[in-house]
Symmetry: C2
Subunit: 200 residues, 2 copies
């Protein structure tokens, strides 16, 4: 026996959320049906709007519903000579919240992972190189995660930088090895940013 078709459909659809199995989907469905139909309708609308309108910034690949994200639209940020490379928008946000960095960003959406078919193209490295060629960048800060894959990706990008005579540095200090940038506190992130070392 199953729940009514629309309830079943709701439960199954909720499983598209990460870490949500059948039981938690069921709990969520009942919670919304019983206590928060308004919130559920707002969520539905937010999902539809975001999925149809949110794309990637044409310059830094951060999420935005415009051509350029807020950071890339800011003349002050765009005048900066330092470009910081992160694996995800969440990492960008974590760095912004640490208040240590006022330059430009570039979001990879992952790291090099040949076995998963994720190469330079998937990470937008062509787009990155085009920007480096423009000549306004003096330093690239590699803020990929301190994991094997994050390190490999940082080294790969450092080589691109060296081909264009641009200094590449790697954030250091305090970010726990094997950890994820997104979950590090602001102070630690600020320190790791300040203590960055050249990748020569």
């Amino acid at each position: 026996m199953e729940f009514s078709p629309l309830v079943e459909q709701l439960i199954e659809s909720l499983r598209c959320l990460p870490g949500v199995g059948r039981k938690s989907a069921q709990r969520a469905a009942f919670h919304l049906l019983e206590r928060d139909r308004r919130g559920a309708n707002e969520l539905a609308e937010a999902l539809q709007q975001a999925m149809s309108e949110v794309g990637h910034c044409q310059q830094c690949r951060n999420y935005t519903e415009q051509e350029l994200c807020t950071i890339c639209q800011s003349p002050k940020r765009q005048a900066a000579s330092v470009l910081c490379i992160v694996e995800s928008p969440a990492d960008l946000m974590a760095l912004e919240q640490s208040g240590q960095f006022h330059g430009r960003y570039f979001v990879l959406y992952g790291h090099l992972s040949p076995l998963d078919g994720i190469g330079p193209e998937q990470l937008g490295l062509n787009l990155l190189e085009q920007q480096l060629i423009k000549g306004t960048t003096e330093e690239v800060v590699l803020a990929t995660n301190p994991t094997v894959e994050g390190d490999a990706t940082a080294h790969y990008i450092a080589e691109i930088c060296s081909r264009h005579d641009i200094k590449a540095s790697r954030i250091a200090h305090g970010v726990p090895v094997g950890g994820e940038l997104e979950y590090v506190d602001g102070t630690t992130l600020a320190r790791s940013f300040a203590g960055r070392t050249s990748m020569d």
Copy 2:
């Protein structure tokens, strides 16, 4: 600094889900944006359909998008003389899956909780009494949770039953005291159903 307006709106809207804080909402939003836009759109549609169309069965109060739920539409189930009372549709489902019960149900959507303003009316006990008056019910099985509130609710309903000369029984055996029915395995539930005791 915040994410773009539509991304922020998505993250905040996801927090209507139980147990989802800012960080998990952010993770879910990025997961959907990056890897499952189709799933997200399906979820949006499922939410809208369910919120606008799913109501309560006019007889047992179980979720349904029709007047009567599947169980109440079945002549075989409706001919049964035993009525089982549960706190939630999830409990109903758990009992159905134990395969032990083939009668009718009544869903309370909670238990008596005067401090929260949940009295007999909120649990639909008027509707329940109307059904008991019809005279087809010989026994009411009280399958509310084995908690203080679930027990109190069971006793309250047992009194209604006794006013109408209907036998009231309480499920027993195996359901751990203080636990929640929804999470008990089928065998234990089946045993607890078979070992129900009269509430005289």
